[in-house]
Symmetry: C2
Subunit: 255 residues, 2 copies
Amino acid sequence: MKSKIYVVGMGPGKEEMMTGEAIRVLEESDVIVGYHVYLDLLGERFSGKEFLTTPMKQETKRCRMCFEEAQKGKTVSMICSGDAGIYGMASLMYEVGKAYPETPITVVPGITAASSGAAVLGAPLNHDFCVISLSDLLTPWEKIEKRLRAAAEGDFAIAIYNPSSHKRQNYLKRACDILLERIEPERACGYVENIGREETRAVTCTLKELRDAKVNMFTTVFVGNSGSEMINGKLVTKRGYQIERSIDLCGDDGR
Amino acid sequence: MKSKIYVVGMGPGKEEMMTGEAIRVLEESDVIVGYHVYLDLLGERFSGKEFLTTPMKQETKRCRMCFEEAQKGKTVSMICSGDAGIYGMASLMYEVGKAYPETPITVVPGITAASSGAAVLGAPLNHDFCVISLSDLLTPWEKIEKRLRAAAEGDFAIAIYNPSSHKRQNYLKRACDILLERIEPERACGYVENIGREETRAVTCTLKELRDAKVNMFTTVFVGNSGSEMINGKLVTKRGYQIERSIDLCGDDGR
């Protein structure tokens, strides 16, 4: 009996932003496991599949469920929003999988919010960047502060995930205060809410304004680097191309 | 006459790793502009389109070409490998577009090598991470060094683009030496060559071994954080889930 597990990133939410590979492995799967919000986003196309879920806070149980189904000989996909390997379920699946070494795990990447949110705002991550989550549920806040300071010190563009939640309403303000220790208040920034869904909302602002922005758990925040600027309403971080000198020697994707 | 420009990330190379949105805008386009290597990767599906290209080092000219075609009323797509907004052409397009404010630019995100390479290796970027290019064609080397030090200081997982080229054969070694100032030689690392193409090659190793790895311009390198480990041959950076205590409170994608 051959079984297989895929951990699939479905991107920001709408089917059009999934890759062909993600759609193919879901079609190949007997069982699709995921948080119910993500299962609900899957279209009619997958309505014949067996769906399994657990409540929030039971991600480990959800992973075990995948291996139990796989042991019955089924092909199982665990779905995650964004990219399965960026704050997604891939690493937990490998950890739980220590007890099931005979079941192969394949990660199928998806468009993470850093990519999809950046595309809405313009090109804020078009040079070296950091991705930092402000969620301190699984990471001590001191470590998050340290990373924010390091990101500012390195003059990285920054994508911030989980800037707020019900219990952490002032976390973005705290993060901005740390960044403001080293970054000028006028630094070009922006944020995007509900990326890839009906009510996408994009805002550009300064770092000082970002400090007081109303964000929620569906917002992704972007902080430019020292060379970022606003062009025709878009937040743009230059790759370093010099238009006049035309010394742009690399291929696309930095090659 | 209505014209439109898309800057499209095509992912690592094979069509299956493009999003449905990327395929749709290419199908809608009259003209597809890009470096010839990427044009060649597009399948039969797009063979009826008008293709335009310029040699390497002429990215600015290539962008202008898009606006000139758009001014004729055409819908134009500029294609990039990976994500158009991550070391891709998006920011240069906005810069060149200053002279054509009436032409709207839409960025269509794609799977960047950080995502696709991570998926091959396991889950090396499953917590806060940095993306750094070692190309000093458009960035002073001192700035790259500073960012490497900041990334190590912040205990980020790291994805390194452009670890080598014909002219920069020892750059990965230099980068590893900088990381080794703060990171232990046994740190779990890995690298992937030709992601998403026929000859994908993935290697896991320690930071000390990475220093002497043979890499080229088609390699993407990954350095784990202090909690990364090898599980069943995969490079895994934990999200911080505690399996025993089951305190995993966030949804997928860090929400």
